[in-house]
C-alpha cells in the first residue's frame, strides 16, 4: 500500500483541495503533509495544518500514486490533541446516494437548482457515483457542486475544522457558487441547510423535502 513516502510532489492533490484553495500555501495540502513527513516532521510540527483539513477525500482520487491521503491525515490527527475534539458532523447520516437515485428527484429538480452533493460520501465511492450524478445533471439541467475534475466542492459545514476555526465556510461557499446561476439550493446533507441559506440568501431544501 503506497504511503506518504511515495509522494513525489506532482501537486495534483492541490487541485481540488478546499484547504489549499483557501490558504494557497502548500503546507496546507496533502502534498505538503507528505513532503514534510518525508523530511522528518512529526504531528506536532503540523498541528495547525492538520486542523485545517475538512477530510472531504478528494485528494485520494487525484493522487496518481494512489496514496490513501485522507487515511494518512486521519492517522496523523489521531496523534494530536485535536483527536479529542468532537465533530459536530453526524456520522449516522442518511444514505445520500439512495436519495439521489429516487425517481421523484428527476421530476422535481429544476434547471435553476444548485444541487449540493455531500462530498465525502461521494468521493468515498466516486467511480460508481460520478456517472449517476453526471446523468442526473444532464437529465435535469441543474447545476452541481462539481469541479472540472468531477470532484464535489465540499461546503465544509459541520466539519471539525470549522469548529476549530481553521476553515472558513463562508469563503468556501462563495467559491462554490461563484459564477453559477441558480434560484434554489438542494442539499443532501441536512447540516448544510441553515448556513447555506444564510450565506446565499436563497431558499435551501433538503433532498428529502423535494422527493416527498
Amino acid at each position: 500500500m503506497p504511503s506518504f513516502s511515495d509522494c513525489y510532489g506532482c501537486s495534483l492533490c492541490l487541485l481540488s483541495c478546499p484547504m489549499w484553495l483557501q490558504r494557497r500555501d502548500v503546507r496546507f495540502s496533502p502534498q505538503g503533509y507528505a513532503k514534510a513527513m518525508q523530511h522528518g516532521a512529526d504531528v506536532a510540527d503540523m498541528t495547525e495544518q492538520l486542523s485545517a483539513c475538512i477530510q472531504c477525500g478528494a485528494c485520494d482520487l487525484l493522487c496518481p500514486e494512489k496514496i490513501d491521503l485522507s487515511a494518512m491525515i486521519a492517522t496523523a490527527l489521531q496523534k494530536t490533541p485535536l483527536a479529542k475534539t468532537e465533530s459536530t458532523c453526524d456520522e449516522a447520516v442518511a444514505d445520500y446516494f439512495s436519495m439521489s437515485c429516487e425517481p421523484a428527484l428527476l421530476q422535481h429538480l429544476r434547471v435553476d437548482d444548485l444541487y449540493i452533493i455531500e462530498a465525502s460520501h461521494f468521493h468515498a465511492n466516486h467511480c460508481l457515483r460520478v456517472e449517476h450524478y453526471t446523468e442526473l445533471r444532464r437529465s435535469t439541467g441543474c447545476s452541481m457542486n462539481l469541479d472540472l475534475n468531477r470532484m464535489a466542492v465540499s461546503t465544509g459545514i459541520g466539519s471539525r475544522s470549522v469548529d476549530l476555526q481553521s476553515f472558513d465556510v463562508t469563503k468556501q461557499v462563495q467559491w462554490m457558487i461563484q459564477g453559477r446561476s441558480f434560484e434554489r439550493i438542494i442539499v443532501e446533507n441536512m447540516a448544510d441547510k441553515t448556513m447555506l441559506a444564510e450565506i446565499t440568501g436563497k431558499p435551501v431544501l433538503h433532498v428529502s423535502e423535494l422527493i416527498g
Binding site: 510532489g9 501537486s11 492541490l14 502548500v26 505538503g32 514534510a36 460520478v130 472540472l148
Partner: protein, 522 residues
C-alpha cells in the same frame, strides 16, 4: 607516463563507463550533476533584513524539504529558506534584499520543470503559488487578469463558470501560468493559437533589482520581449493579462499509423491546411501511432471530413487493429510487443473518453482528460522528457532519429508531437528559446518520454538518454524546449555563442549580483 584507455579509466573509477561517446561535445560534461550549492554567505544578515520588512521566511527543514526536487525527480537541492509570494511589493522587497546580500532566489510555480530549474541549491525559494487568484475577467474584451502562480487548471475552473476558456496551455493541470510563459507552453491547439506564451497581452513584473514594472508590446516592450520565453532570467512574473475565448466542447478523431513518417507528414499537411482546431501525434510504440484531430465546431469538422480526411493515410481503430493483428500473426518474436499494445489500449482508451467528461461524442474537459491520462499513463517519478524543436523541413528527420535513440535505451516509450503557430511580431521573443531561429510559420516539437514499466533506470542512464537526444539536435542545428538546468551545457552548442553572449550581457545589466534563477541558463 602510462596512458589508460577509456575502459581502463572506467575500471579504476567508481563511476561506470559513460555509455555515450565521451568526446561528442568537447567541453560539455557528459554526466550532468546538480549545480554547486550556494554556501550561505551573508544569509543571517539577509534574513534579518527581510524579516524587518515583515516578510516571513521559513527555514525549518520540514518546510524547505517540500521543494526538494521537481517533476524530473533527478535534481535534488534544498533552499536555505522559503518565501511564499504574497504581493508584488513583498517580492520587490525580497529582491532588493537579495541583490544587496547576493543571495540566490529560485522562483517556483507548479515545480514541473524536469532539469532542476525550479529546485533551489541554497538561497531562497520563492513559491509563487501563494499568488494564484484570478483578479478580473473581461467578458467583452475576452481577457483575464490573473496572478501568475495560478495553475492552468484553476484558471480553467474560474473561466468555465463564465462559459470561457484559455486559448492553449500545457497538458498538465499543475503547471503554473507564470512558469509556462517563461518557457513557452504547448497544447494540441498550438498549431492554431500558438504557444501559451503568445497569449500574454501584458505582465506585471518584479525585476531582479526589485522594481515593479508593467510591460506589454506597447509599454516597456524590451522588458516584455525578455520576460516572455526568458526562462526566469530577467524578472519575476507577478500578474498576467491573457487572451481567452468562449468555451466549446470538442469532438475528437483518431487516426492510426504503423510507421512514423506518413503520420508526421500528415500532421504537417493538416497544419498547413488549417482545417483542424487541434492536431497532435501520440505514440504507444513506433508501430502504433495515433494522429489526434479535433474540432470546436460541427462546421469545421464537416469541412474536414469532406475535404481533408480522404487524404490522410491513417486508419480507423478497427481496420488498424486488423492490420496489426495480421502483421503480428506471423512474427511470434513480436508477440510480447503485441501483448503490450493490447494492454496499453485496454488501460488507456477508456481514460481518453471517460463518460463523465463526455457529452455524447463531444469531450467536455480536454485539459483534465489529457492531463490525468498523462500523469496516469506516462508520468512517473522521473519525468524525463527530452525534446527536439525544429522547423517544418527538419521535423521528420528529428522525430525518426529521436525515435531511434528511444529504441536504443528503452523497450517502451512514447512520442508526443505538435505544431506551434508562430507570431511574426513576436519573433524577438523567440531569440533564446525553444523556437528555432530558422522556423517560419510553424515550429514543431517532439517530446521523447520513456515508459519505465516497472523497471528502475539509473540516473546516469536517463541522463545519457537525454544527452543523446540533444546530440541529434546539435547535429540538426535546431533547438530544444528543456535546455535549462542540468541540460544547460547544450545551450551554446544549440543556440550559438553570439545569442548567448548577448543575453548574458543583458542579464548582467539587469541582475548585477546574478541571483535570479541562478544556474538555469547562465
Amino acid at each position: 607516463m602510462i596512458e589508460l584507455n577509456l575502459a581502463e579509466t572506467a575500471a579504476l573509477s567508481s563511476l561506470p563507463a559513460d555509455p555515450v561517446a565521451p568526446d561528442a561535445l568537447i567541453g560539455i560534461p557528459r554526466q550532468q550533476t546538480n549545480p554547486s550549492r550556494w554556501m550561505g554567505e551573508q544569509w543571517p544578515e539577509f534574513v534579518l533584513a527581510v524579516k524587518q520588512q515583515g516578510i516571513e521566511i521559513r527555514e525549518r527543514r520540514v518546510d524547505t524539504g517540500i521543494y526538494v526536487t521537481d517533476a524530473g525527480g533527478l535534481a535534488y537541492g534544498m533552499p536555505h529558506g522559503v518565501v511564499v509570494a504574497g504581493s508584488a511589493e513583498q517580492v520587490a522587497a525580497l529582491m532588493k534584499a537579495a541583490q544587496q546580500f547576493a543571495v540566490p532566489v529560485t522562483v517556483r510555480g507548479g515545480g514541473l520543470t524536469t532539469e532542476g530549474e525550479s529546485v533551489a541549491f541554497g538561497g531562497v525559494l520563492l513559491d509563487m503559488t501563494g499568488m494564484s487568484r484570478v483578479l478580473h475577467v473581461d467578458k467583452q474584451l475576452l481577457t483575464v487578469r490573473t496572478e501568475a502562480g495560478i495553475f492552468w487548471c484553476h484558471l480553467a475552473e474560474v473561466l468555465r463558470r463564465d462559459g470561457l476558456d484559455y486559448l492553449s496551455a500545457p497538458l498538465n493541470l499543475s503547471s503554473s501560468v507564470g512558469g509556462t510563459l517563461g518557457v513557452g507552453g504547448i497544447d494540441v491547439n498550438s498549431s492554431r493559437f500558438g504557444c501559451s506564451a503568445d497569449q500574454a497581452i501584458s505582465l506585471l513584473v518584479v525585476t531582479p533589482t526589485g522594481e515593479i514594472v508593467e510591460c506589454s508590446d506597447d509599454e516597456n516592450p524590451e522588458l516584455f520581449e525578455r520576460i516572455i520565453f526568458g526562462y526566469g532570467q530577467f524578472g519575476i512574473i507577478i500578474e498576467v493579462t491573457l487572451s481567452i475565448r468562449p468555451y466549446t466542447p470538442l469532438r475528437m478523431h483518431y487516426f492510426y499509423y504503423a510507421s512514423l513518417k506518413p503520420c508526421v507528414e500528415d500532421l504537417l499537411m493538416l497544419d498547413v491546411s488549417q482545417t483542424c482546431d487541434y492536431t497532435g501525434i501520440l505514440t504507444m510504440m513506433d508501430s502504433a501511432i495515433t494522429l489526434l484531430v479535433a474540432f470546436d465546431s460541427d462546421e469545421r469538422e464537416a469541412e474536414f471530413l469532406a475535404q481533408v480526411k480522404p487524404k490522410l493515410r491513417g486508419f480507423g481503430e478497427l481496420m488498424f487493429g486488423l492490420r496489426l493483428a495480421a502483421a503480428f500473426s506471423w512474427r511470434p518474436w513480436k508477440w510480447k510487443e503485441a501483448l503490450f499494445l493490447l494492454r496499453r489500449k485496454r488501460e488507456l482508451f477508456p481514460d481518453l473518453q471517460p463518460k463523465h467528461h463526455m457529452q455524447g461524442d463531444k469531450m467536455l474537459d480536454r485539459s483534465v482528460v489529457f492531463s490525468r491520462a498523462v500523469w496516469k499513463h506516462w508520468g512517473d517519478r522521473h519525468m524525463v522528457i527530452p525534446d527536439l524543436a525544429t522547423n517544418r523541413d527538419k521535423f521528420i528527420e528529428a522525430v525518426e532519429r529521436g525515435n531511434a535513440v528511444c529504441r536504443k535505451y528503452f523497450p517502451y516509450y512514447t512520442l508526443y508531437c505538435v505544431g506551434i503557430r508562430l507570431r511574426d511580431e513576436h519573433r524577438a521573443h523567440y531569440e533564446l528559446s525553444s523556437i528555432p531561429s530558422d522556423a517560419t510559420g510553424w515550429a514543431y516539437g517532439c517530446e521523447f518520454e520513456p515508459m519505465y514499466n516497472g523497471v528502475e533506470y539509473s540516473r546516469d542512464t536517463l541522463q545519457s538518454f537525454k544527452n543523446e537526444i540533444y546530440d541529434v539536435g546539435v547535429e540538426l542545428e535546431t533547438s530544444y524546449y528543456r535546455f535549462g538546468g542540468m541540460m544547460k551545457g547544450y545551450i551554446r552548442r544549440a543556440l550559438g555563442d553570439a545569442v548567448v553572449e548577448k543575453h548574458l550581457k543583458l542579464k548582467q545589466k539587469v541582475d548585477p549580483a546574478m541571483i535570479l534563477n541562478r544556474d538555469v541558463i547562465f
